[in-house]
Symmetry: C2
Subunit: 190 residues, 2 copies
DNA sequence: GGCTTTATTGAGCGATCACTCAAGTATATA
DNA sequence: TATATACTTGAGTGATCGCTCAATAAAGCC
């Protein structure tokens, strides 16, 4: 008896993710979303409930893709290969709205007001860090790097370097490729 | 004939800087500023003209203090000493509103909309990078580090690492001190 | 003290914010 | 085809946004 929605919900979430990613939480108005997603307010709220709820879905999608992508790369290039490839990959991806990390942008924008989305972003960054640690551990087991460093510490430093790189790569006065290569080269000294 | 203002303009700018630094541009409303600075709307606009104008003054103050502080440290600790001390200093300062850099927060928040304040923040980051490069150059001249690296590249990487550190240090799942020490230790290998 | 000049005050401006809802429309089932 | 069940529409909600301005108060100069 019902009537099917005329839109592709998953595609809308991906589109919303890109808009939020680029312009931030406060920087994206409902009008922006309605215009880009081609949804009237009524449809928007029927589909997603609220701006924050859609942002949460977008963040979830973003984080999930991040972990998946990293693990896929590890499958193909090995753990160390994936860790070395990620810096360049992340700033040279052609179709991303901005080079900076959406998790860190969300956290930086909303943490001071104790927004729930900041907590969600932080949780996803913890997941991502654990993913990196797992790859460092595997790289050690595979003999690709020495075992004289704690994988968790390596992961924390690596993640920090990546966040800095992705922030810096937004600026045109910075040569992101150089920094990315240096981060990758650092891993060879382990 | 005139009447003197009852407030200390410089102190108000410093106070506004801390609020903007913490909560961001969109995250700070005029009501917030009026309440914290204890200014009614009329006085506020008579004194500063607009929210953006005050933000610009706050950014200017922030950037100026950053360079001054770095140069003062170099005077006391030498160029390499200052570069090595900065990572720890910047995340352990007791009275700062947030550990993340105000320039990078401003740039990340406003760049996508081509806001004038984003351009101002970027310009200040270029200045800061040049300050780092100058210290690397002096460190080379003083024989504190080798001359086989380009000071500008070293500065770009160093600044990127600092931005990452300061972003990461906001999170309680990250040991900022460890990362800061590693960044400092990296400089000894040059 | 009188006058001029500026600071202070706060009600209120239009615009925009996230969001609601009643009316209209399209579709799957019976 | 008739009916039930959603989806779609867009005018409109109260709240808040950055900001203005006329009225009032206070200080320096004569």
């Amino acid at each position: 008896m019902p009537r099917k929605p005329s839109y592709d919900r998953d595609a809308l979430i991906a589109q919303a993710r890109d808009i939020f990613w680029r312009y931030g939480w406060a920087g994206t108005s409902l009008k922006d979303l309605e215009r880009e997603l081609k949804l009237k307010p009524g449809s928007f709220y029927a589909a997603f409930g609220s701006k924050d709820a859609l942002y949460a879905l977008a963040l979830e999608r973003y984080a999930q893709d991040g972990v998946t992508n990293m693990m896929d790369m590890a499958q193909e290039l090995g753990p160390l290969g994936a860790l070395k490839a990620q810096p360049l990959r992340v700033i040279e991806a052609a179709d991303i709205p901005t080079k900076a990390c959406m998790l860190s942008k969300t956290y930086a924008e909303l943490q001071a007001r104790d927004h729930e989305l900041a907590a969600q972003a932080r949780a996803h960054m913890v997941e991502m860090k654990a993913c990196f640690a797992e790859l460092f551990r595997r790289a050690q087991e595979a003999g690709e790097i020495g075992t004289d460093h704690d994988p968790d510490r390596l992961a924390a430093r690596y993640q920090s370097d990546l966040l800095g790189l992705r922030l810096s790569a937004e600026r045109d006065d910075v040569n992101g490729v150089e920094i990315a290569n240096e981060i990758a080269a650092d891993l060879d000294r382990l």
